[in-house]
Amino acid sequence: MQNNAALEYDYTIAKMFVFSTILFGIVGMVIGTLIAAQLAFPELNYLLGEYGTFSRLRPLHTNGVIFGFTLSGIWATWYYVGQRVLKVSMAESPFLMAIGKLHFWLYMLVMVLAVVTLLMGITASKEYAQLEWPLDLLVVVVWVLWGLSIFGLIGIRREKTLYISMWYYIATFLGIAMLYLFNNMAIPTQLVTGYGSWLHSVSMYAGTNDALVQWWYGHNAVAFGFTVPIIAMIYYFLPKESGQAVYSYKLSLLSFWGLMFVYLWAGGHHLIYSTVPDWMQSMGSVFSVVLILPSWGSAINMLLTMKGEWNQLTENPLIKFMVLASTFYMLSTLEGPIQSIKSVNAIAHFTDWIPGHVHDGVLGWVVFMIMAAIFHMAPRLFNKELYSKSLVEKQFWLQTTGIVLYFSSMWIAGITQGMMWRAVDEYGNLAYSFIDTVTVLHPYYTIRAVGGLLYLIGFFMFAYNIYKTFASGKEVDGSTLQNKTPMSA
C-alpha cells in the first residue's frame, strides 16, 4: 500500500476510550481491593452504610472491571488497530466518526447508570448480567453502534484481506451480541400488570433452564470478553512491538476456528453436580479439556513469534508484559480444564479456588495485555515519548508479585475449604462446622488482599505513567514510529 504511505489515522475515539479504560480500571480495582480486604477484616463492610457491604459492592467490582475496564480497553484498541489493519482512516468518514463518538458517550451514560442502579440494589441478580431491562436495551444500542463501526470501517477498507485481529474483533461482536440477548430475556412486570416499579422484570427462564442459559452466557462472556478480543490485541501488538512476523498462519487458523467451535460447549462445567442433565455436565467437562488445544495454539503461536528474539525480553518491558500475558493465558487455560474434571470440580466448586482461577486469567492475561497495548499506543496517540521506562519495569514486578500472592493464596484457600467441607471423623460424621472452614481462611484472605493491593498500586503507576506521557513527555512524531515504543529511562 505504498500509495497510502501518507495516510493519517485519526485517533480521537481511541483516546477517549483510553481515558475510560484507566478510569474504570481504577474504580473497579479499588472496589476489588476493598472487598478482598472485607473478607479478611469484616469491619470494612461498614464504610458506606447500606451501600458498602461486600455483597452490594461485588457486582460493582465485576461490572466495573468487565464492562468498564475491559470493554473500554477492547474499544480503545479497536479504534486504533481497526484503522491500521484495514488501511483506512476514521477521518475519511464523518459518519463513522459520529458513530464512534455516540458509541463512547452512550457507553459512558450506561456505565454511570449501571453504577447508580447497582449501588441502589436494582439488579436482575444474574452474575455479570445484573443490569435491569431498560439498561439492557441501552447496552444493545451501544453494541449495535460498535457493530456499525466495525462493518462500516470494513466497508470502506483498502486492505482487502482481514488480518487475524479483525477475525477476533468480529467474533467478539457477534458472540457477545448473541449471548447477551438470550441471557437477558425478561418480562417487565409493570408493563404487564400496571403495578409496582417500572424497573423490575422477571426472567423468561425458570430454575434449571435459567441456570443453563446463564452459564452458557457467563462462561462465554469470559470467552468473548476476556479471551477473544485480548487475542485480537496480542496478534497485533506483539508482532508490531517486536518487529517479528506472526509465527504461523496455519496455527492461527486452527486456534481461531477451534476456539469458536469448542468454547461455547464448555459452559456446562459451571453446573457440574447441579440439576442440569448429566450429559450436559459431561459435555461441559470434556469440551473444557479439548479447549486446551485452541487456547494453547494461540499462546504458543505468540511465544514462537518471539523465536530468536528473546533478547528483547530483557530490553523491552512491553515485550515482557505481553510474553507474561501469553504465559498466564496458558496457565489459566490449563487450570480451567483441570477444575472442569468432575472429581476435581467436586472439591473446587463453590470455593475460593474459582476466584483464584479467574484472577490469574484476568490480572495476568487481560489487564497485562490491555496495559501493554496502551503503553504501545500512547506515543502514537499523543506524539510523545513514553514518560518512564523504569516505572514500567517497577510496575511489572510489583504487579507480577501481586498476582502470584493472589492465586497461590486462593489455591490453598480453595483446596483447604473443599477438603474441610467433606472431611469426616472416624465415625463418619462431618468433622468441621461451616464456620470452622471460614475462620481457617483468614490468613489466605489477608495475603490475597495484600496481593490485590500491590496490583492496584501497580495500576496507579501505570495511570501516572500514561498521564505524564500525555502531559510532559518528550515530543515525537507518532506517525513515523515503527516497532519498538520509544520511552525515556
Partner: protein, 227 residues
C-alpha cells in the same frame, strides 16, 4: 477456503456465527420443556416471599450463599436432601449462586427460625461467633416493595401459568391465593404479622402494625420457605 473467507467479511461473519451458535442449539433448546416441570405439589411463592426474594437479590446474598445442594454425603449431611430440578420450577431468576463464602441456604428453612434470622441479620457474630458476614441492619428500617412483588406474581401467573389461585394438592382449597392487589396486600400483611409476632425488634413490630412491612420480615418469610 479460509483465504476466500478472509476477503469476504459478510460470509466470514456468517461462518463465525454458525460455528458459535451450534453448541447453544444442541445443548440448550432441546432440554427446555423437560427441565422446567415442577415437582408434584410444588407451591408458588406468596407475595411476601417474592418480596423477600427481592431483598435477597437486592442485597445480593448470592455473592456468598448458594442454593444448590450437590448429591454428596458430605453435603446432604450438612444441608439436607440434595436439590432437585423440579424444586426450582418457579425460581425466576435461579439463585444457585457460584460461591460459598457462607453456607448453602437451599433448605435453611428446615433448621433456622425467625428469631435466629432476626438476631443473625442484626449482628451475625451474636449467633455465629467469628462470622465474617456483615450485619444487615438496614433491612430493619427499609420497607419492602410489596406492590412490585404482587406485579411479579401476577406476571408469572398470566404469562407462565404459575398456579396461583388454584388447588394444587387436591384438598379442595386454593393453596396460594393471589387475587386482586387489595387481596394480595391484605394477605401479605397477615403473613407479616405472624412473623413479626415471633420477633423482638419493636420498630419492626410497630411498622407492621402500621401496615408497612420492613425488608427483614419479607426476607425471613422467604428464608423460612426455603425447605
Amino acid at each position: 477456503m479460509f483465504h476466500w473467507l478472509e476477503e469476504r467479511p459478510f460470509f466470514f461473519a456468517v461462518g463465525v456465527f454458525v460455528v458459535i451458535a451450534f453448541a447453544g442449539l444442541i445443548e440448550i433448546l432441546p432440554n427446555f420443556a423437560q427441565a422446567s416441570r415442577p415437582i408434584e405439589g410444588l407451591k408458588p411463592y406468596s407475595v411476601l416471599e417474592i418480596a423477600g426474594k427481592e431483598v435477597y437479590k437486592k442485597d445480593n446474598c448470592i455473592a456468598c450463599h448458594s442454593q444448590l445442594i450437590r448429591p454428596f454425603k458430605s453435603e446432604t449431611d450438612r444441608y439436607g436432601m440434595y436439590s432437585l430440578s423440579g424444586e426450582y420450577a418457579y425460581d425466576r431468576p435461579f439463585l444457585w449462586g457460584s460461591k460459598r463464602t457462607g453456607p448453602d441456604l437451599h433448605r435453611v428453612g428446615n433448621y433456622r427460625t425467625t428469631d435466629w434470622h432476626e438476631n443473625h441479620m442484626w449482628e451475625p457474630t451474636s449467633v455465629v461467633p467469628n462470622s465474617i458476614m456483615p450485619a444487615y441492619k438496614h433491612m430493619f428500617s427499609n420497607i419492602a416493595d410489596i406492590e412490585t412483588a404482587y406485579a411479579e406474581a401476577l406476571t408469572v401467573k398470566n404469562v407462565f401459568n404459575v398456579p396461583y389461585d388454584q388447588d394444587i394438592n387436591g384438598d379442595g382449597n386454593v393453596d396460594v391465593a393471589l387475587g386482586s392487589w387489595e387481596d394480595a396486600r391484605a394477605q401479605a400483611l397477615k403473613e407479616a404479622e405472624a412473623i413479626a409476632a415471633d420477633m423482638k425488634n419493636q420498630d419492626v413490630k410497630d411498622a407492621v402494625a402500621r401496615g408497612e412491612i420492613p425488608e427483614i420480615v419479607a426476607i425471613i418469610a422467604y428464608m423460612n420457605r426455603l425447605k
